[in-house]
Symmetry: D2
Subunit: 305 residues, 4 copies
């Protein structure tokens, strides 16, 4: 496995220079386009890694999985999917179009920004601090890593420049989709986007999802099987933004990407995979990351569809 | 298996009366809303059925799978996906919106009407008759049933009332996405939509997809494994129109629905499933059909994600 | 007046080379970009001209005024504005977007293609030939010129390449906005677009509108005052496509443009103006034509707002 | 004139009960639907009134005219129309759609909310307080009424509930259309919307516009003729939101409406008209107000087109 990962990692890294680093959050623009790392965690807790595995990065949209998981566990799917749809969309992750032209004004799904903000808005905690800490806590348990924390610089950079997200949130407030203090919801959202992890962390989280909620490192139950299945279903249809169809075709396993270049992938009852390469395609997904996952799923026959 | 199918079929049939029969093609409006049938074909060719399995119905959008398969086999994915996207959309199956506002003017994917018409337009045959016959021939082989044929009444009804499809096709002609004679492409498209099958036929086709292209009834190779994987990937993200996310969550296996109420579902290396119930939800999918598939995948642990 | 026209014409002609000849109808692409002519007809029937006034051109969208006028006279505003809106739009003249996303599916106004086709579709004649001839006849009377006729080459070119208009028409048929034979409606529409005139003809027609329906050349009543006021109102808000606001600001008189480069303008109780310069801005309006009208309205203090 | 106004006022008031009071700003919801008043000011400064002329109301969107006027005077049209378009739109006044799908991301015109906020954002003052005071000052001069002031309750209500406007403003910030502090711009905007006037004030302002910038009550120059012409042109094509075409047809003079039910209308070199009736049609314009203006322009032959 170690040799396979190293080999595929080398091959995929070559594609990194074709894309673009996300720079709309200024702090993200500082990443090195050729950095690349991959980690795999199997059901027996074995960890295999290759590349710049010590480098950490912020979770960005990957964190949407866990605010959704928390909402599902605390409120149940009925309540959550009253606020947010569950169908994929062809609009970009930060689009506002469908909020206006759809009859329900409901965000299409919890994997795009509007949907994720709506989910954060209904997390049943008093303050944005508590919301965030509950998400952080869940992420730490998913990854069996109590040291996971926020990158304050990225958080402040997000907060300062997150005007598109403000537009989405205020629009949903104006249609009644979101209630309460918009800036508080956004604060929790910006913080969770700025949680810093390594590909090992992502792989452990992916393995916990693959194991239907029990972390393979310490055998602790973190999520219910139903929540894990729900996340995997959302990932396969909506996890790679408006590139989810191409990803299903090329890779064919549930995955969630973030604009920092991280991807968390999961293969039910087999493994979790973490990949990171900050150079992105025009849909906001890591170029080298997708390339690696395509090769890996072919080599190991992981395709679940 | 027989008992399980009968039991689940009885339960799901109860939901049929909640929906609406498609009536925009007048001939479809004549269906009986409480008709319902299910068929399962496993990898060893065993067939199990329940319900009104002798009643046949037209394939409608299910046929999109096989014009796509034919294009993939004859032209290769590179050529096909130059003409049509591969990502899911939140617009309804007959929407024209994205053809205008997307920069490429390319239909989003081959499972919506615009995409399917674009695919038919590039099938490498001289006449619309030949295009259609090649698709029909493929469908007969997929189902190992040489008697499959067109319902001429439905075909004429489609042709007479297919103005939304004409709008889509002429729009694509105006942007250069489609070339040649629009009415010829539409003729082939209307004919393939009007191909008449039973749930057994759908189940055999689904089993052939599950077996990576070899029909389990007669062990003949009909499609390449790559084409089968491509179809399954398109089905999981786009197969149930703009209800594909909810379907992935509730059912979690690749499937393609048609407005006549048929659904073809497939579980790689396990089975093909055909369901038919003409009463539809507001996205155009069979209500009882989805309900049955949800129950069956739970009972048999078929979820592939 | 003669000297003024010549002077302004010379100045405006200089801008002609900045734009682009419409080439989506192949026959139109043959025009000479620096051709330019202007004609003015006052209420006493005096005609003043300058430039290439012998060159004729097709009316294109200018003809929309007269199919609308005919519908208003024969059916009354109530019936006409049940089928077509009366408000300006920011979408281009050939856009289909609003037909899908507006609740009524009604074309926004009779000055964009969809609206004009809807108007032609309700003209109360048996055949497309009769519809067209009634429009042609009205145009001949408006211009007091019985020799006005169709350019058959342009008509055939339009018919051959008018796929965007077909898309609009079939879309409206699918939503019930248009009934009857789409190709017949389009045939009448393509023919009226191909009616050939000179700027003198346009100026006389504009003068007839300015005189509330009585042609200043022969004192014959052609239209009712109400229809003339309705046309002038539609012209001021919608006559220059999605450039109508800028035109109101720069020029400030009712006008209707066509993609052949013609503009018919009218100043109530003062004059009609015809301009023609085939080089267009990106909204489809004659660059030199607008420039000339801006200068003329300033010189003669014609602005009506 | 007095008798005419009274008669027409009585007739138009009957239609008031058909509409709906704007209630999205809670304070506006308290208006009495059958209140109605009209005022006319001619070029010689004569004032004629009828109805509840002592009742005051907030200007709402009517104020957009004067922040635009101020920007035009201080920055010139070139600078202003770089930030905001000048063409009418078929989208509602608070729509965000075109900000996303238009290539320029520029608001369509200064008469819709997005455009007005963009105009306020570029007013060349340090603080939002100064911006607002400059607009208020201009309005006082236009109306020759130094007592005009803000309704603090309405202002606070707007500020509290103005989330759709926040969405528009943050969206424009995210695309670079707006810079600086969004909440400051909105504060100035909410304040100017809450400026309280009577129909007499509106009529004097309209008369000042009609007189090309010189107030007929005190002969003071307030605006340049160019700015007045620009405002009148924007009013005729965009002043009544997405009902501007119908208004041009029925009434045919430049006007600007607000959701409090006020309308400021102007007839170049003849008169200014103020109308107020809080019951609105579905586009946000005063039902009785439009009815009155239609009758008045017919009686006095005011139509300028």
């Amino acid at each position: 496995m170690k040799n396979l990962l190293s080999k595929l990692m080398q091959e995929s890294r070559k594609n990194a220079s074709n894309g673009r680093i996300a720079d709309y959050i200024p702090e993200l623009g500082k990443a090195n386009p050729t950095d690349f790392s991959v980690s795999v965690v199997t059901m027996d807790g074995e960890i295999t890694q290759a590349g710049d595995t010590n480098t950490s990065f912020t979770m960005q949209s990957v964190s949407k999985l866990f605010s959704l998981a928390l909402a599902l566990e605390l409120l149940g799917p009925q309540v959550v999917f009253l606020k947010v749809g569950m169908d994929p969309t062809s609009e970009p992750f930060n689009s506002i179009l469908k909020l206006e032209i759809s009859d329900s004004h409901k965000p299409m799904n919890p994997m795009i920004n509007a949907g994720a903000i709506a989910v954060v808005s209904i997390l049943p905690f008093e303050t944005s601090r508590e919301k965030f800490e509950a998400v952080l806590n869940l992420i730490r348990k998913m990854a069996a890593n109590a040291d996971i924390n926020v990158d304050e610089k990225v958080y402040l950079s997000e907060k300062l420049t997150g005007d598109r997200n403000r537009a989405l949130a205020y629009f949903m407030k104006s249609t009644g989709e979101v209630s309460g203090e918009v800036e508080h919801h956004l604060d929790a959202y910006f913080r969770q986007c700025s949680i810093t992890v390594t590909t090992k962390d992502l792989a452990v989280m992916g393995a916990t999802l693959a194991a239907n909620g029990v972390c393979p490192l310490n055998r602790e139950r973190v999520l219910s099987p139903l929540t894990c299945r729900t996340l995997r279903a959302m990932m396969i249809t909506c996890g790679m933004y408006n590139g989810s169809g191409e990803f299903a075709l090329r890779v064919g396993i549930p995955a969630k990407s973030g604009v920092s270049g991280g991807i968390l992938a999961t293969v039910a009852e087999r493994m979790g995979i973490g990949v990171w390469g900050p150079s992105l395609d025009e849909k906001g997904n890591s170029i080298a990351g997708i390339d690696f996952l395509e090769k890996l799923t072919k080599e190991l026959e992981l395709k679940s569809i």
